[in-house]
């Protein structure tokens, strides 16, 4: 056999590049679709944004002037193209309500949400996975029933109510945690006046600055809303873990491992868990992404200046540039997390590579 006739083994790089390109293309298309849908919704709602800004006093001429200044007199497709072009250049527009560039506002609100969602997800995973495993290894037992009940409560109780009750109990009566807001007033002012904000995530910023007193105050403020959101995501994660784990435990390789005398914790946490992790990653990523959208009600009750409350308040003011900008950030976060979970998936499961 001459070398020339050898079957060509394609270099793995072009394929990977193609994969990357495909991923980026799908990312771009998803975002474009998202932009389109949000834009259309913002334009078809029967609310006149100009009238919302100008209010009672403005004359008809002033209203018309504002309409032209906002570009609302142009055909809708033209408005959309202008908007997409601006977004591509990193300009998300200016908030009608606050007069602040949307990008600036969103980049302030997003870290607050990111911090909260990350801690909540960590708590949700730390509690949800063991609970799910516990329930799966002892199906029908009291432990299983308790996990089921606690999970059901997490699903069904309104977060708004749960948040208020939590605040009343742990902050109002027991004094275990800090109140609404990200810091106590005195620290909040210090944080602001000393320009300590680097990443916008207070836990991270105070830790980097070595200010542990403030860190602990920030922690006392974030722990309750994070635990609350963590509880909701725990409910979901524990149910899913239980079902994945039960499926794995009925497999033959588990029986084999047990017969070989392997300790039970090793069978469950090493052998079975490795396979449970594959679908679980997607579940966790989805739950994380859901929290990154900014959990509106929790942020409102806890006076948490995150993305959820930003978008909601903007909606209340008919401030469409702010709503659109916020939605894009949520969309990017969602798509990025999906991408990451795909990558992790491949890392954990060689068959997916």
């Amino acid at each position: 056999m001459t070398p020339a006739s050898a079957p060509a083994t394609p270099s793995p790089w072009p394929a990977r590049l193609r994969g990357l390109f495909g991923a980026l293309l799908s990312l771009a298309l998803t975002l474009l679709g998202l932009l389109f849908v949000t834009f259309i919704i913002s334009r078809v709602v029967p609310i006149d944004p100009v009238l919302s800004i100008m209010g009672q006093r403005a004359s008809d001429a002033q209203i018309e002037e504002a309409r032209i200044a906002l570009g609302l007199d142009k055909p809708m497709w033209q408005q959309f193209l202008i908007y997409v072009w601006n977004v591509l250049q990193g300009d998300l527009g200016t908030s009608i309500g606050s007069g602040e560039p949307v990008l600036q506002a969103v980049s302030r609100a997003f870290p607050a949400t990111l911090e909260l969602a990350t801690l909540a997800t960590i708590l949700g995973v730390l509690a949800g996975v063991p609970a799910g495993v516990l329930a799966a290894t002892r199906p029908g037992s009291l432990a299983d029933q308790i996990v089921r009940l606690v999970g059901l409560m997490g699903y069904s109780m309104p977060v708004f109510w749960l948040g208020l009750i939590g605040l009343l109990l742990f902050y109002g009566i027991l004094d275990w945690v800090g109140g609404p807001g990200r810091l106590d007033a005195i620290y909040d002012m210090q944080f602001e006046m000393e320009g300590m904000s680097r990443s916008g995530m207070i836990l991270l910023d105070t830790a980097l600055a070595g200010n542990w007193e403030m860190f602990s105050n920030a922690f006392s403020h974030i722990i309750l809303p994070a635990a609350l959101l963590g509880y909701v995501s725990m409910a979901y994660i524990s149910r899913m873990t239980r079902s994945f784990m039960m499926n794995e435990l009925s497999q033959e390789y588990i029986t084999t491992a047990r017969v070989k005398g392997m300790p039970e914790w090793r069978v469950i946490w090493v052998h079975a868990m490795r396979n449970v992790l594959v679908p679980l990653i997607t579940v966790i990523a989805l739950s994380y992404a859901y929290l990154l959208e900014g959990s509106v009600l929790t942020e409102t009750i806890f006076a948490w200046p995150g993305l959820g409350s930003y978008i909601t308040e903007a909606l209340g003011r008919n401030d469409m540039p702010a709503v659109l900008g916020g939605t894009i950030v949520v969309g990017v976060a969602f798509v990025t997390l999906n991408l990451l979970s795909d990558l992790l998936y491949k890392l954990v499961d060689p068959r997916a590579r």
Partner: protein, 532 residues
């Protein structure tokens, strides 16, 4: 064994770390003695440039950071007081006003306040032409002529007006935020592309007020820092920290715990809940907003005076205020809110089914039906339902058309409504602001486009037009007040407007907080007098 022993130890450590982290919270509950911490919903702020700010929360900041030539006394905001001007006078013909500046006052930058700063500020307000500019434009000032109409020489500022308006009209307008004096030198240093420093002033300050704006983040809050050696005397509160807390229940909890000193957005239910708490007190006040019903006179039915009278007696003003509104509004029955020059404080109409039925019978209208536009806000819908009920008792059928605020406003502005439940807030601290809208319509044609409230309801005020025009020119303050009283007496018995309520402010605060003034109907909040 289900869990690896190592994992168990890690878990126990994580749990104790969690508990430790939460423990210190209890140590920091009190607010610092020299800091005032307030919770309010401040997402209405558009700009903190005093010549652009036109919302309640923004004007609160402006009031504490800037001064005008003339000021109102926060404790008793009835008449003009010297601000940065020590005295003023008006010429014989009533068209030239001179203001002598106080000496020795400085801006927060250290620059001395001069008459040139004052003239520049008023010119700037007109030239940048933002929402509140019209308050000054009323005196015939335009971007083109304001440099000639407003001038400075030595320590005197001279203001010329295009007509001989009532001097109180000008003085009252000069107490508005839009007439704030800014530091010309500092502002000009921050001019970008001829914006007269507008972009910079949106989030910075350059005034003579008791406080300096240290930080402002939209939808999060702001921090004000007291100035040393302020001309009014140093403010007892060295810092003011405003937190944006939109949820009333959250505000209440923060207040009860002592994490904030003042909560400004509590609901009537929350106010009821904290009544009796010895650590807290509630300060009742009225704001400038009034709530009214109006009827479109394109429908001939609403020109029938007896029918209008029947409706005035078919509203349970007192019952609504006590049950549904629970102190968030107080009965008020004339277009000038209490606190304004010439306001009528009496409430001649009360819920009287017999009187209303008698008037309805006299009107000759049978089986009247009204379609009432109502905004989809809870308090308004509840108010409307009560009106629907009491009108029903009299024999007037009301159909409620509930919708989004901006859309309702669109119909109202286009004169497409039949009847509507609306609110109106005055624009500046002079009676002309409401008289000019409720009782002024000199062209009732559809395409007149004046947009006054009278026009929107196709209401031709007839002789009230002349009364409104005369009142704004009356040079004697007392006579002027009497003219507005007379105007309102006639308006409330002949016009298609039924003014029902004036908004109430319930500020809840820690019991050690004193001398906090909200500004009532005509001014904004003052922080510089607060002690605790």
């Amino acid at each position: 064994m289900l869990i690896d022993p190592t994992l168990r130890r890690v878990g126990a450590f994580a749990l104790s770390a969690l508990m430790l982290g939460t423990a210190p919270a209890a140590l920091f509950a009190e607010t610092p003695a020299d800091t005032l911490v307030i919770a309010d919903a401040i997402d209405d702020i558009v700009s903190l440039d005093p010549h652009e700010a036109y919302e309640f929360s923004g004007l609160d900041v402006v009031n504490n950071v800037y001064d005008g030539l003339i000021e109102l006394d926060p404790a008793q905001p009835t008449g003009p007081q010297p601000g940065l001007a020590e005295s003023w006078a008006v010429s014989e013909d009533g068209m030239t006003f001179t203001f002598k500046m106080k000496s020795g006052i400085t801006f927060s930058s250290g620059n001395p306040v001069t008459a040139a700063d004052a003239a520049y500020s008023l010119q700037r307000a007109v030239k940048i032409n933002k929402s509140p500019a019209f308050i000054l434009n009323q005196f015939g000032w335009t971007a083109e002529n304001v440099d000639q109409m407003v001038t400075a020489e030595g320590d005197t500022v001279t203001l010329k007006t295009d007509k001989a308006y009532a001097p109180t009209f000008l003085y009252n307008c000069l107490t508005a935020g839009v007439a704030s004096i800014v530091d010309m030198k500092t502002v000009m240093e921050h001019d970008v592309n001829g914006d007269m420093g507008n972009e910079w002033l949106k989030t910075n300050s350059a005034g003579t007020g008791a406080y300096i704006l240290r930080s402002y983040k939209p939808n999060e809050g702001y921090i004000l820092q007291a100035r040393e050696g302020h001309w009014r005397g140093d403010a007892p509160m060295k810092s003011v920290f405003m937190r944006h807390v939109p949820e009333a229940a959250t505000q209440r909890l923060l207040l009860e715990k002592g994490d904030i000193d003042i909560a400004r957005e509590l609901t009537p239910v929350d106010i009821e809940g904290i009544t009796g708490n010895a650590d807290l007190k509630i300060q009742k006040d009225v704001g400038g907003q009034i709530f009214y019903l109006s009827f479109n006179q394109k429908n001939e039915l609403y020109k029938n005076q007896k029918f209008l009278e029947a409706m005035r007696y078919a509203i349970d003003y007192q019952g609504l205020a006590e049950t549904v509104l629970k102190g968030s509004m107080v009965p008020h029955q004339a277009f000038l809110p209490n606190g304004y020059l010439g306001a009528l404080e009496d409430t001649p109409f009360s819920f009287d089914v017999e009187k209303a039925k008698a008037a309805l019978a006299e009107s000759g209208v049978s089986d009247p039906k009204i379609v009432m536009d109502v905004r989809n806000a809870t308090d308004r819908m509840e108010m409307a339902q009560s009106i629907q009920n009491t009108f029903g008792q009299v024999g007037i059928t009301v159909e409620l058309n509930i919708g989004e605020g901006a859309e309702q406003l669109k119909r109202y502005r286009a004169r497409q409504h039949d009847a509507t439940l609306q609110s109106w807030g005055p624009d500046y601290p002079d009676p002309q602001t409401n008289a000019g809208s409720f009782a002024w319509n000199d062209n009732n044609a559809d395409d007149a486009g004046t947009g006054t409230l009278a026009w929107r309801n196709a209401y031709d005020p007839g002789p009230l037009n002349d009364m409104t025009a005369a009142a704004v020119m009356e040079r004697d303050g007392d006579k002027r007040a009497a003219m507005y009283k007379d105007l309102q007496e006639q308006h409330r018995t002949t016009s298609p407007f039924i003014v029902m309520f004036q908004i109430g402010y319930n500020s809840a605060m820690r019991s050690n907080v004193n001398a906090f003034y909200t500004g009532g109907a005509i001014d904004s909040a003052a922080y510089w007098l607060v002690t605790k």
